[in-house]
């Protein structure tokens, strides 16, 4: 009996991507069944599936202590490959297939405005929160502000300015909270904020920025909006990394002194 699981595990581990396709397929099937019968159509199946994924990642993280959710469990490593940057970006680009070019160009200006507003408001808000919690060092303030942008902008800004590792960890935490909340809150807020057309989706991507959050949030709201939001969100992290250690840092230092 004891030899049975190791044998199965060996197969699952060796074919980890195939294991992931099987498991994720099962999760999506269950989620859509729940959406159809229990939730009565109020919550989209993909939103339930994403929530189930996040819950699984939380449980796995609490057991393994790792940073990669269920992918830290050996035989589930394939989920990390399936949901990793490589296949995710390939699928995001594929969603643009069939989109008309004019729609992107027509909404270009709103996209640029939303990007600048999104990046600066995140820095401003994150730094304000850090200040309210007693942080006074401009490097710490702008690093946590960067975390409120995305979990990449925070560490990049902190590393460039020489922030300590606990501050960088806080900024990553802020970015992760943001990403998780964007995935879960977007489908709930969509109706109130008018997130139901391509231009709103492009503005949304520019304002929120976190690629994983935007990708998950729009997928759970209306799949047709994904290419528009992903299009602007993809510029956000780069812009944040550019503005964080420069403009945002100088501005914060001018306000609080060095």
């Amino acid at each position: 009996m004891n030899a049975i699981w190791p044998s199965i595990e060996a197969v699952l581990t060796k074919y980890s991507l195939v294991t992931a396709f099987t498991l994720v397929g099962a999760v999506v099937w269950v989620a859509y069944a729940i959406a159809g019968r229990l939730a009565g159509g109020r919550l989209h199946g993909s939103a339930i599936a994403i929530l189930m994924g996040l819950a699984a990642a939380y449980v796995a993280g609490s057991f393994t202590g790792g940073a990669k959710g269920v992918a830290d469990i050996g035989w589930l490593a394939g989920v990390g490959l399936m949901g990793g940057a490589m296949l995710r970006d390939l699928a995001i680009v594929a969603t643009a297939y069939g989109v008309r070019l004019e729609e992107f160009i027509k909404t270009g200006l709103s996209g640029v405005v939303s990007l600048l507003l999104g990046v600066f408001s995140a820095f401003l808000f994150g730094a304000t929160v850090a200040y309210a919690f007693g942080f006074r060092d401009p490097v710490a303030l702008v690093t946590i502000g960067g975390g409120a942008a995305t979990y990449i902008v925070g560490p990049v800004t902190g590393t460039a300015l020489g922030a300590s590792s606990d501050i960088i960890a806080l900024s990553v935490g802020a970015g992760l909270v943001k990403s998780v909340l964007v995935m879960t809150l977007t489908p709930l807020a969509a109706r109130w904020i008018g997130l139901d057309n391509p231009r709103a989706a492009m503005i949304y991507g520019g304002l929120l920025g976190t690629t994983s959050g935007v990708a998950g949030g729009l997928a759970a709201t209306d799949e047709r909006l994904v290419p528009y939001g992903a299009m602007t969100a993809t510029f956000y992290t780069g812009l944040g990394c550019l503005l964080g250690p420069s403009v945002a840092y100088i501005a914060v230092r001018a306000v609080v002194g060095s």
Binding site: V28, R88, A94, A130, G147, D196, L207, G238
Partner: protein
């Protein structure tokens, strides 16, 4: 053949990522600046040209559309591999900063949407769903 479509898609992604990386290098940022965005633009332009030229056969298109259809499951896999535990247990500053940034971002959407409003962006009806949509 389906591989032509997948190859076209992959080619666009690689080109976009290289451009994004080079822009990052040019402005001194260690990040890929808009790589996926450029890839999407390239795919839109290339597929438009190829379709106009009549060389985009049905099997070729399926090689792209499969990846578009598998997008939601990939996002589910991505969600399952996020560091959710660290996000929830990383302290009040992180949670307030992250949560507030989301609320502000969502709240600003209707305001920014007012700028440059055009008559063509009325809300979408719950109309036909894209190919591969499991709904």
């Amino acid at each position: 053949m389906a591989i032509y479509g997948t190859a076209l898609l992959s080619f666009c992604l690689i080109c976009g990522l290289v451009v994004g990386k080079l822009i990052g290098l040019a402005i001194g940022v260690d990040a890929n600046v808009g790589g996926v965005g450029f890839a999407m633009l390239l795919l839109i332009v290339l597929s438009d040209r190829l379709r106009a030229a009549g060389v985009l056969a049905e099997p070729t298109q399926r090689g792209v559309l499969y990846w578009s259809a598998i997008y939601i499951p990939i996002v589910v896999a991505m969600a399952a591999t996020q560091n959710v535990y660290a996000a929830i247990s990383s302290g009040a500053v992180a949670i307030v900063a992250g949560a507030g940034a989301v609320v502000i971002g969502l709240a600003m959407l209707p305001l920014v949407a007012l700028l440059g409003r055009s008559d063509s962006d009325e809300s979408w009806p719950a109309g036909p769903t894209p190919p591969g949509d499991p709904r």
